[in-house]
Symmetry: C2
DNA sequence: CGAACCGTACGACGCAAATCGAACATTGGA
DNA sequence: TCCAATGTTCGATTTGCGTCGTACGGTTCG
């Protein structure tokens, strides 16, 4: 039983989405996934963004984002890949992802090229 | 010194806005102000929405919303009136208020007419 | 001036959430 | 089969935040 499920997009409420995005780690994570554009390893996102948290904490945050309907998890061999649910989120909350994209990190520290180091 | 100031809209970050809206009381409050459409007494909003919190707690929430750049406070005699910063918020976060408006309360309990009892 | 009212400021409390560490499950490779 | 790597789950800890009660400030009215 290695399947990972996420809620149907119609059942996603804005309350839960706002709570999910209200955490700095998760907000950074979502923005990184948005910049990546496709399936990405969560641990890699951590390194590229410079966020230092334990792996159990990362697992927790990913679960929160998944339960909030924002991301999807796929099993790929030994690791788990995650991706933003672009179309569905855009369908239910038009402009939300664009808003996060335009309003980048509060303080753009010297990030040369976004998430292409690996 | 009874003036109440709010941050310039250009200095408002989405992080702070998301955190402000992530609380159920504040989200209800913002939606109520949106429905009201103009200057409203915070205590009245509480009664009309059925939210029961102490006045110090209300004061705290209003301050959070004001610091987040979402609302503005005006002194009116013995009381304080608040209002949504429609145009400015719309200018900086296009579609945000509309999103809150369309995605109404998670559970629409028997609310007959919105905020016109007083 | 004094009383009543509205809101703020401050300290304290409690709970929910974030975090960590350890144990366990799963997969891939030697 | 054994071991290394990845990620989840669980329990415990800590931190942050919502909440309240009280005290204080400002305003209106008598």
């Amino acid at each position: 039983m290695t399947e990972v499920t996420e809620p149907a997009i119609e059942t996603v409420t804005i309350d839960v989405v706002l709570s999910a995005l209200a955490d700095p780690v998760r907000l950074t994570f979502v923005r990184a996934l948005d910049a990546a554009g496709d399936w990405t390893c969560g641990s890699d996102v951590l390194r590229e963004t410079g966020v230092t948290i334990g792996k159990s904490t990362l697992s927790h945050h990913i679960k929160v984002l998944r339960d909030a309907g924002l991301i999807r998890t796929r099993v790929d061999g030994i690791r788990r890949l995650v991706t933003l649910r672009y179309d569905e989120v855009e369908q239910r909350f038009p402009g939300l992802l664009a808003m996060l994209r335009e309003h980048g990190p509060a303080r753009a520290r010297g990030i040369s090229s976004p998430y292409t180091s690996g």
